[in-house]
């Protein structure tokens, strides 16, 4: 198991989401359990918010901030997210001593189409 796999395994809710790590980072696997709009087979926005929060927390924990936790995260749902794998792309906006500001993009498909973008503050 990679370090990220171990960090995922420590959180029951992350196991529930089915989160896994690939060569790029964190992935929310395609799963019909995460559908919000039943009539159009689209992922629930709240699940995408949970995913971007998890991505930020795991990124910081894998980087030595073992107790990192999301304080406030704002997600913009830019495009409907279909039931395919979703990947997280993380950028540090600023990391201080007590808090880190991150941007997390959720992308889908080979073309890495942006479905959700989020910014937030995590406590280290």
């Amino acid at each position: 198991m990679t370090a990220l796999d171990e960090l995922i395994a420590a959180v029951p809710y992350y196991r529930y989401l089915g989160l896994r790590a690939d060569q790029h980072g964190l992935v929310l696997p395609a799963d019909e359990r995460h559908i919000g709009d039943h009539s159009r087979s689209l992922l629930h926005g709240g699940i995408l918010s949970a995913f971007v929060e998890a991505a930020g927390s795991l990124y910081l924990r894998a980087d030595g901030a073992e107790d990192a936790v999301a304080v406030s995260v704002t997600s913009d749902y830019l495009r409907p997210a279909t039931v395919v794998d979703t990947s997280a792309v993380i950028a540090e906006i600023r990391r201080g001593r007590r808090f880190a500001h991150l941007r997390v993009d959720a992308v889908q498909g080979d073309e890495r189409r942006l479905v959700t973008t989020a910014t937030g503050v995590w406590r280290l």
Binding site: R33, I35, H38, G46, S49, F51, A54
Partner: protein, 153 residues
């Protein structure tokens, strides 16, 4: 009036189909159906939902309901409040933005309630906010959210 197998009071001034609202709250949204989200009550511009504690939804083994599950529950509470306020399924759409603030950790074994409220409509969107709390402790805020939902006046 009865909705499904329980009594949900029709809010005064509302003409919305409560069976439809219940279906949206508990069944047609697969994410909330599989989490076990339940509708408690609805009001003219708000909705109260509840999630029972489950070990697979916890933040740590044996811990309280996880942050991500709370985020999903808060989104749902906001969307349901916007739906009630729209009074018409055709006018209530998807969440287009959501901010979640985490205040206090939730307690193991205890359910969480979310009270969502639609604060206003305009410019083609509805604005809703929601608070998460334990049913026995409504004044202690666990988490809060504000949402922009498509489908305003």
């Amino acid at each position: 009036m009865g909705v499904g197998d329980r009594e949900v009071e029709r809010p005064e001034g509302s003409t919305i189909d409560l069976d439809m609202v219940l279906a949206v709250a508990e069944r047609t949204n697969a994410a909330h159906r599989t989490m076990g989200t339940r509708m408690v009550s609805v009001q003219r511009h708000s909705a109260l939902i509840e999630l029972d504690w489950r070990p697979d939804l916890a933040e740590v083994d044996g811990g309280g309901i996880g942050h991500g599950a709370l985020a999903a529950l808060l989104d749902h509470g906001c969307a349901l409040a916007a739906l009630m306020s729209a009074d018409d399924e055709a006018k209530a759409g998807a969440t287009i933005g959501l901010r979640v603030d985490h205040v206090s950790p939730s307690r193991p074994g205890e359910p969480v309630r979310v009270q969502g409220r639609c604060d206003g409509r305009g410019s083609g969107v509805a604005f809703a906010t929601a608070r998460a709390f334990h049913p026995d402790n409504p004044d202690e805020l666990l988490a809060a959210a504000s949402a922009t939902v498509a489908g305003g006046s």
